[in-house]
Amino acid sequence: MGADGGASTATATAALVAHGLSKRFRKKVALDSVDLSVPAGSITALVGPNGAGKTTLIRVCMAFERPNAGRVEVDGVDPWRHRSEALRRVGYVPQTPAVYRGLSVEDHLAMARSLHSGFDADYARRRLDQLGIPLDQRADTLSGGQGAQLGLAIALGTRAKVLLLDEPLANLDPLARREFIQVLLDAVRAEGSTALLSSHIVTDVEDACDRLAILGGGKVRLDCPLEEARRTHRLTDADSPPPGATAVGSFLGKGGQKVMTLWRLAGADTDGADGQSAAPETTSLEDVVLGYLAAGRGTAGLQLN
């Protein structure tokens, strides 16, 4: 499991690294010894249910929260120790579009330029132009999708190496979600930057991301390339496990008639998944995620009537 090669190698090629990262809010553990490595140039989906710790992880990376233990590095810089330097390398899109109600879209770009020395307002303006978002429109009159696009344009305008997107799709309709993903993909591919996109909607990130990190109960349950996640897991009913496979978690299958179990195939850490690489059979990403989330939650609630 995971992309933990040698720590030094991972650090050298990773845009974002967390080592033993823990964060508590009073007695509630939000992050529990999280180890995560986001390779440079990748788009990583950070998936997990509400309260899994996704937002906390991103906030620690933004130096909004101080970790209780462990450390995190963004493009090789510890954001808590060297906040300015770290944030210069990060473009951030918050969960709820953060807009100044009285300001126009153009004012937002001007404000971003005044706050961030390297902000490329023309680049951000072009992105918004392409989407037909009027620059003279007041930000509080934008639709949810337009607001999210403004947030993304500001993040992209920083020309940062790392983009941290904290559930930007959560409040968008399907069409706006698709547009958002497309703009993000185009930008990341064109600039070669790295993105960590948190979401609890698996289908949204399935086509956009090349890497998957599943967070549940403050722990990283899975961290690997997307294809590997699909290839190395199988979903069957509990009575027919694939040979040598390890059960990950059980959950109600579609239709709610049957309890299904996600299995991790033997030899999954090596190439070729279960060793039978010809005509690989894959599992849907949603099932993989559900299996790991069920594992984190235990089997409670899975009893069928």
Binding site: R59, F64, R83, S84, L87, P94, A98
Partner: protein
């Protein structure tokens, strides 16, 4: 901005009205007019002018202007200060701006300086207008920069109190992250701080600069405290006060007046013609001509307070969460 300029304009109008009262030659007393002018005074040109002057100096609109002069620096400071950080946190824009700015302290410093650049000239205009109005409160006009009358409500102190209120409220806003609580707490603190400051400052620092005024405080003096000992003709006087009075007054018996029901007789005493002022406590004052010296002493302290509050705000913004 409107409030500052409005109060400044109102103060100048009041000053103009006072200045436009034409006193005939030899009438100007150089003093204040009391709040109530004796209506039985003969209607001489001098008395009529004095009455008109009093009417303006103690009018409702003048007291309104004075009231605004007292509270304006705090209103401006608190209003701007409460929204500077707290509103960003409250409305969820702080994560965006802090992420873009990188250094939160630089972000706050930039905002704070922008506000200071706007409010300092406005407060200075209002403060100088208050100076002009205060100078006009004396018949014939006076130099308000050689007088301690209401000196903390005008001039440069107008700006300094505004800055202290601004920076203090910014610190409160950074701490609470909520606009209204910061605003209300700042209002309460300012009301108490102003009163306590004057008492503490006068009785500690300014006390050292006070000189004895045997004849009491004159116009424009800052009266600080009175001695417990009595002084007569500028010299310490020790003796029996009642005996002194007995020796310096003549008393005559007054019989009851039968035309007035329930009229009672008694003794009526008058000071003798050779009596000097009776022994009285000496007043320690700072004379008005030391105005600029005291301004130079007090200003850095108030400015220092504003800087300390800013430091607290900067420290706290650096530590706190943006939500």
């Amino acid at each position: 901005m409107v409030l500052c300029l409005g109060v400044a304009a109102a103060a100048l109008v009041e000053a103009y009205r006072l200045g436009s009262v034409q006193f005939p030659a030899g009438c100007v007393t150089g003093g204040y007019s009391g709040p109530s002018f004796d209506p039985s005074a003969p209607p001489t040109p001098c008395n009529l002018a004095s009455q008109r002057f009093s009417g303006i100096a103690w009018s409702f609109d003048m007291s309104l202007v004075r009231m605004f002069e007292q509270i304006l620096p705090f209103i401006v400071g608190i209003t701007f200060g409460a929204v500077l950080v707290a509103k960003e946190i409250e409305e969820g824009t702080a994560p965006l701006s802090w992420a873009l700015a990188g250094s939160r302290r630089r972000w706050l410093l930039g905002k704070l300086l922008a506000v200071i650049v706007v409010i300092v000239p406005l407060l200075l205009i209002a403060g100088l207008a208050a100076d002009v109005r205060q100078g006009a409160m004396v018949q014939g006009g006076s130099d308000s920069h050689a007088s301690f009358d209401y000196y903390a409500d005008r001039g440069v102190f107008f700006v300094l109190w505004g800055l202290a209120a601004l920076c203090g409220t910014v610190a409160l806003g950074a701490f609470t992250g909520r606009t209204m609580p910061a605003l209300f707490v700042a209002l309460i603190v300012c009301v108490f701080a102003r009163g306590l400051w004057e008492q503490a400052w006068n009785q500690t620092v300014l006390r050292q600069f006070a000189v004895r005024a045997d004849q009491g405080a004159e116009r424009g003096d800052l009266s600080l405290y009175q001695t417990s000992e009595l002084y007569l003709d500028g010299k310490l006087w020790v003796g029996d006060f009642d005996a002194w009075w007995q020796a310096h007054q003549t008393c005559t018996e007054v019989k009851p007046d039968p035309s007035i029901p329930a009229s009672a007789g008694g003794m009526v005493c008058q000071p003798t013609t050779d009596a000097t002022m009776p022994p009285m406590p000496a007043t320690y004052v700072i004379h008005g001509d030391r105005y600029w010296q005291i301004v130079a002493l007090e200003s850095p302290v108030l400015l220092g307070g504003a800087i300390v509050f800013s430091g607290v705000a900067l420290f706290w913004v650096g530590r706190r969460r943006p939500y």
